[in-house]
Amino acid sequence: MLDILKTPVETFQDFIVLTGRAFKNIFRSPHYVDDILIQMDTIGVGSLPIVMLIGLFSGLIMGNQMARALRTYGAQGQIGPIVSITIIRELGPVLVALLVAGRNASGIASELGSMKVTEQIDAMRALGTDPIQKLVTPRLIATAITLPLLTVIADYLGLLGGFLIARFMFDIRSAQYWTPAWQTLVYNDVVQGLVKPLAFAILIALVGCFYGMRTSGGTEGVGRATTKAVVWSSIWIFIVTYFIGNIFVNL
């Protein structure tokens, strides 16, 4: 029985160690600012088009489905608040995080994994750099900065999508959509909508780096690491969003 638990417990312990070292390095020199900027470009700017698309469509879909349901109760006017609360609290952060996990946790894991199997990580240590400082910490910082920003953009486009449906398919006036959509939001919602992407960002970057750094077994190993990184970061996104949501509900 204990043997079955041994591997997952050890893996989790290694993950915590990596997390600790990655965070410690944020406050220690040398700081690789160039690497942070390059990663922000790859993760942030690179994900922007697809995040915008997903944001807009989640709003369009939400608006469409909700308006139909609300119409049976004659409550079409409620479409604004419903779209804005769902997207800002939950859908925006989770959808963007899942996208970035698919795009960047895999990217990070495969890049670091290839470096591992071609001895570039060993070479870094041999040539005087800490691979965690040089590779993991910049990716962590870059994701933590860009993911909340991406989420804000996606949230806005989601609201816009909801508006387009409300205005042009259900003939709701602009003010009737935007005013309640805006007024219904309280600080709790906004903070929740920003804390989540921050937590997801840390998760995505660290899970990607973790599986990348422990890649073994050549090219095939890189493939396995990439898959694991995406699967586990996605699973953790759902677990974490549930708990953060719970905390904020009780606040």
Partner: protein
């Protein structure tokens, strides 16, 4: 870093053992080497040759035994302290270990810019550029400065790896299978470069290989600075002592000796590497 006393031994292993899970990687390995010494390490795949180099570099910690680097007990050093020792070692990884994302000049400059111990000493950019050019000139690849590793052939990548290893002028050089997968002519070029580096600066070197010709060249040839050629060593000279051969099997050093002793060995495993 100031030269400390008692540095005549560049590298010493005392009874080093290491396991990866249930697999024995190193089994009670002991040896010592001084400046100008060469050690040729033979052995089949998985016999612990690469692990030996990784322990010497502090990339892996041994389970038991002690490692002395430049006269200092380095066994329990922290990673940051190891950086200072590694600044005085050069390493060529099996596949070159070049960074794909950087061009050749950046790759060769990497240790100069990133080694904490060297950064302070070298400082200005001009000096780094000059050192990088010099190292690439040494391996005759000065024209590849702006290229990326993926644009070079296997042999050229290996030569860039050598340039990166020697750019810091380290007193100890470790070469992990520098000729693996190369054609014989390119392989000889690589070994000639290693001989040249050894003889010009009296660096200690460990060469891991499975090609017996590599060891033969290292033991019998030397670099003549007068005409810039690699030539056969006069037999009289007592050079044989400086070059020793190791044969590894299952993590153990099963043979340690000179070339003549290697030739005279009757052990069937050792004989595989004698001819």
């Amino acid at each position: 870093m100031p030269e400390t006393q008692g540095e005549s031994t560049v590298l010493e292993f005392r009874d080093i053992s290491l396991r990866f899970g249930s697999e024995i990687a190193l089994d009670h390995v002991s040896f010592a080497m001084s400046a100008g010494d060469s050690r040729i390490v033979f052995g089949v795949a998985g016999s612990g040759k690469t692990t030996l180099l990784k322990v010497a570099l502090g990339l892996v910690k041994p389970d038991s035994g002690r490692v002395y680097v430049f006269g200092q007990d380095a066994t329990d050093l922290k990673e940051t302290a190891w950086f200072h020792l590694r600044a005085r070692m050069g390493i060529l990884f099996q596949e070159g270990g070049l960074f794909d994302s950087m061009n050749i000049a950046e790759n060769v400059a990497y240790p100069l810019i990133n080694q904490p111990a060297l950064r302070e000493r070298i400082g200005q950019n001009g000096a780094v550029d000059e050192r990088v050019r010099e190292a690439l000139r040494f391996v005759e690849l000065e024209h590849t400065l702006d290229k990326f590793p993926s644009e070079l052939s296997g042999g050229m990548r290996r030569r860039v790896g050598i340039a990166r290893a020697i750019v810091t002028e380290p007193p100890l050089l470790l070469y992990d299978s520098p000729t693996a997968g190369l054609d014989p002519i390119t392989a000889n070029t690589i070994i000639n470069l290693i001989i040249k580096e050894r003889d010009l600066r009296d660096a200690a070197s460990i060469l891991v290989t499975h090609r017996f010709q590599d060891g033969h060249l290292m033991a019998d040839f030397r670099y003549n600075p007068d005409n810039g050629q690699i030539e056969k060593m006069p037999l009289k000279e007592d050079n044989q002592v400086k070059t020793k051969f190791f044969v590894m099997n299952g993590g153990r050093l099963v043979f340690v000796g000179t070339r003549a002793e290697l030739r005279a060995s009757t052990d069937p495993y050792v004989m595989k590497f004698a001819k």
